[in-house]
Symmetry: C2
Subunit: 147 residues, 2 copies
Amino acid sequence: MTVFALHPQLQKDCLIIGDLPLCRALLMNHRRFPWIILVPRVENAKEIVDLDAPRRGMLMEEIAQASEAMQRHFKPHKLNVAALGNMVPQLHIHLIARFEDDAAWPNPVWNSGVAAEAYDAEEGRALAGELASLLIAKPGTNRQNAM
Amino acid sequence: MTVFALHPQLQKDCLIIGDLPLCRALLMNHRRFPWIILVPRVENAKEIVDLDAPRRGMLMEEIAQASEAMQRHFKPHKLNVAALGNMVPQLHIHLIARFEDDAAWPNPVWNSGVAAEAYDAEEGRALAGELASLLIAKPGTNRQNAM
């Protein structure tokens, strides 16, 4: 039996928001950009197409949920959604809330020269908790999709 | 009635591969990186969550089809899949075949300083045609999904 283990680099760079049905949701510890990372809890997945079709469907819906949570919480000008994985091979999807006055706009955040700046411990915990309350379904509640 | 129109920047930068059920598939005219762009033919969509759930499901499956076509044709080390849209607001998804010896590795291709280099006209047409034959289902054939 194999067990899902978060890649050490993601563990180092991120705070835990919580688990959706497919993905572990993380908050990148980088206060310059509001940044969620979704990691499907599937062993050895590197590419989106390494997931079977039902899991790809779940991933898409969890991307949509995380997008809506970020739109509600951060009110960004644009979302950037990306599965790159050139450096960290474990499949993970970036969702970044972008603003026209952020430090990298209009370029992507990677390789932008903007140094990572960690959240204060309390600030990071609070934000991860707020995102968890938007993202992680409570038993007995049924999140309405406005689409 | 509104009609889908490809954003002029995408029209300028890309060759046409053809239409999938949801998306127009384009080949970025940049021979340094094998690069497909999928554009859902949906008016005014800017974010993935601007699509309704059934169209999001179609988008995911077309991303998977394009990923498999790129894996088969280019045999990349990694795929990069991203919806950014900071500059071109029309929703479009990049799929880029990456190699450990490509000009931007391991960085993302955007903002990498690698100048675009257009395909020769014949080379571009031939590649778009080969990708179309992998991607666009012919009537009466049923593409087997190996997943």
